[in-house]
């Protein structure tokens, strides 16, 4: 005979946990049920956002005559030659490598330097740290266009004009990155670091062995945002780079636009190729991307 309290009927208000295993939540059912009223707003908005992308793809695989049609329509045949023309008719490979070099170096330096600086602002007590942090925050309020000329003069004094270094050095560490990492460390309870210090770890040891493994989400966010901003940057490369072989992708794309004539099929094919690494990166790391952005509180 079973114990009376083990019976699901023993009490009409017994929570499920007391009378047996919880039923598996049926998420699929919940997802396929009635659409939310928000869907009527969000679906058309999604279409609006997708339109330029679809238009870009259609143009990239069309003939110049088909590309001029409005509204755009699917081409009669796919023009793969547009892509090969971009690759052979311009130093596209150079631009790709240049952009990759600049992006990887800047992302790596930001990940290292912003997290170290953020840690220092969050944890180390030194004279003037509050003032220094305030000044850092103030630089976030200044648009890049305002500091464009001073930055150019500084980079010129370093002898880096028309050199990839001109694109790397000013972006080695960013105020936004330092601020973001500092906020992460401030929110982290100090107990872990103190425990590690008592266990015999040095400051750097604490940072590398205890904190770095916990910094996955904020570092991923920082890396993604830095990568996107560098990969898609146009204004600063336009000012700092002149030689075609030193151009980055976005700057190179502008060479497809003439003063009087633009070959839209080649321009869109090049644009699509330039965005492919970003799209591949996003699709591959979509889960990490969404989670890290969500956990960092950045929208």
């Amino acid at each position: 005979m079973s114990h009376p309290f083990s019976s699901p009927q023993s009490h009409p208000l017994s929570p499920p946990a007391l009378v047996g295993p919880l039923p598996e939540p049926d998420l699929s059912d919940r997802r396929t049920r009635r659409p939310s009223p928000w869907h009527f707003l969000l679906l058309p908005l999604s279409l609006v956002m997708l339109t330029p992308l679809v238009w870009m793809v259609i143009t990239a695989i069309s003939t110049p005559a088909e590309a001029r049609r409005f509204p755009p329509a699917l081409p009669t045949s796919i023009q793969w030659s547009n892509f090969s023309a971009v690759w052979t008719g311009s130093p596209f490979g150079h631009w790709l490598v240049n952009t990759a070099i600049v992006s990887v170096v800047v992302v790596a330096s930001n990940v290292v330097l912003c997290s170290l600086a953020g840690y220092a602002f969050a944890r180390l007590r030194f004279r003037g740290s509050g003032l220094a942090f305030m000044l850092l925050l103030m630089t976030l309020m200044v648009p890049f266009q305002v500091v464009l000329i001073p930055t150019l003069l500084i980079v010129k004094s370093f002898g880096l004009i028309d050199h990839l270094g001109a694109l790397i050095v000013p972006n080695l560490v960013t105020a936004f990155g330092v601020f973001m990492m500092r906020q992460f460390f401030v929110a982290l309870p100090p107990d872990l670091e103190e425990a590690a210090r008592i266990d015999g770890a040095s400051r750097l040891g604490v940072f590398l062995k205890v904190l770095v493994p916990l910094m996955g989400p904020p570092l991923a966010t920082l890396a993604i945002l830095t990568f996107l901003s560098i990969w898609n940057d146009f204004l600063w490369p336009l000012v700092a780079i002149q030689s075609p072989e030193n151009m980055t992708m976005q700057l190179g794309l502008s060479t497809f636009q003439g003063a009087h004539l633009t070959d839209w099929t080649l321009l869109m094919a090049a644009t699509l190729m330039s965005q492919l690494p970003v799209i591949v990166l996003f699709v591959a790391g979509q889960r990490v991307f969404v989670r890290s952005i969500a956990s960092s509180g950045i929208k």
Partner: protein, 374 residues
């Protein structure tokens, strides 16, 4: 294992309004002794621990561990281990790696490291959990891992900062016994910080009561409980806390409400008469001892005993209620008039102004023949 000497510890947090967290703390903790620091929030007990650990820099004073001055050394060089209230387990490491962390940082060879980790895991019954991460452990298991990490390298001193606060009542009792057993077995000099007086009384070989950054009293649990040096210590220790009745002494006669007592050697002036709940007991109507008539306000039935809350008959409404224990069979109801017997040997006297204990020249006795005044 080593004695710990705290010599004139002073800690001030600077700012526009500097906060004095510790003021002139002197204490010697003997080799192998477990001393429990107890006090209300903000009394400075955790600051003492953090200063000993090296997590806070002293404003002045010295800390000696095993005869060696350590106040200028970083935490890792002090040869101490600490258990945090939050346990502070490294969430990305398994239990094994958490236990091995202090040994790795001290470059202990792999074979010895492994042996030490397994020894401690065996002692704390953590062996089946070695591959798990902290997130997969219960509160009690995490607490044991934190203990293990502190014990694994056999430090000279062991610091525990409210290690049981995050556990439920049942687990806390169990872990308290385990900590006592580990300390008995290893005999490491330990400082235990808690706001829970039961923990302090049951674990500490000596307890130190702190208030506003100052040491109030240090002694064995029995000494501090039975002979508190001031009203704060008397009121802080004991559950329910000590009953306090205001009164006035004049030429050796104490008048406190309806009580008239002879208090030999007590100076004239305003005083507070203290008596613990166990100093009061239900009395029969014809009891001719020192008695009080009280009006019961409510009764807490605890099963093995009752806690009776009552007000002295005729006392002002603002007067603090008295609390006394009674056996379960004596269960009055709110509004009942009952008589309680006062044990004169358990009466303590404190100066109202300084809150210091008054040392009497002889035993307290009732002042008149009838003894019953109410």
């Amino acid at each position: 294992m080593a004695p710990i000497v705290l010599d004139g510890l002073r800690k001030v947090y600077p700012g526009k309004q500097p906060v004095v967290a510790l003021e002139g703390l002197d204490l010697t903790i003997d080799d192998g002794e477990l001393v429990a620091f107890v006090g209300p929030s903000g009394c400075g007990k955790s600051t003492v621990l953090r200063c000993v650990a090296g997590l806070e820099k002293l404003s002045s004073g010295r800390v000696l561990i095993g005869g060696r001055e350590v106040q200028e050394l970083p935490p890792g060089k002090r040869d101490i281990a600490m258990v945090f209230q939050s346990y502070a387990l490294y969430p990305h490491l398994t239990v094994y790696k958490n236990l091995a962390f202090p040994l790795r940082e001290r470059h202990v060879p792999r074979v010895r490291r492994d042996a030490e980790v397994r020894r401690v895991a065996e002692m704390l019954e953590l062996t089946p959990l070695l591959r798990r991460r902290p997130g997969q452990l219960s509160g009690g298991q995490r607490q044991r891992v934190a203990m293990g990490r502190a014990l694994v390298r056999e430090p000279m001193a062991f610091l525990l900062d409210e290690p049981l606060s995050n556990l439920d009542a049942k687990l806390r009792t169990q872990m308290r016994a385990e900590i006592a057993e580990v300390h008995r077995r290893l005999g490491i000099t330990s400082i235990y910080v808690t706001h829970d007086q039961v923990e302090a009384m049951t674990l500490g070989e000596r307890i130190v009561v702190m208030r506003d950054g100052r040491l109030q009293q240090a002694g064995t649990p029995a000494e501090v409980y039975e002979n508190p040096v001031n009203l704060f210590v008397a009121g802080f220790l004991g559950t329910p806390s000590m009953n306090q009745v205001s009164g006035r002494v004049s030429r050796g006669l104490l008048v406190a409400g309806s009580l008239r007592l002879l208090v030999p050697g007590a100076p004239d002036g305003d005083v507070v008469l203290g008596v613990r709940p166990e100093g009061l007991s239900p009395a029969s109507v014809d009891d001719d001892g020192l008695c009080l008539d009280v009006l019961v306000s409510h009764v807490e039935a605890l099963g093995n005993e009752n806690l009776v809350h009552a007000r002295v008959t005729g006392a002002e409404e603002s007067a603090k209620p008295l609390v006394f224990r009674s056996p379960p069979r004596f269960s009055p109801r709110g509004g009942d008039q009952v008589r309680v017997r006062v044990d004169p040997s358990q009466l303590l006297l404190f100066e109202q102004e300084t809150e210091l204990r008054v040392t009497l020249a002889g035993p307290v006795v009732a002042a008149d023949e009838r003894h019953v005044v109410a």
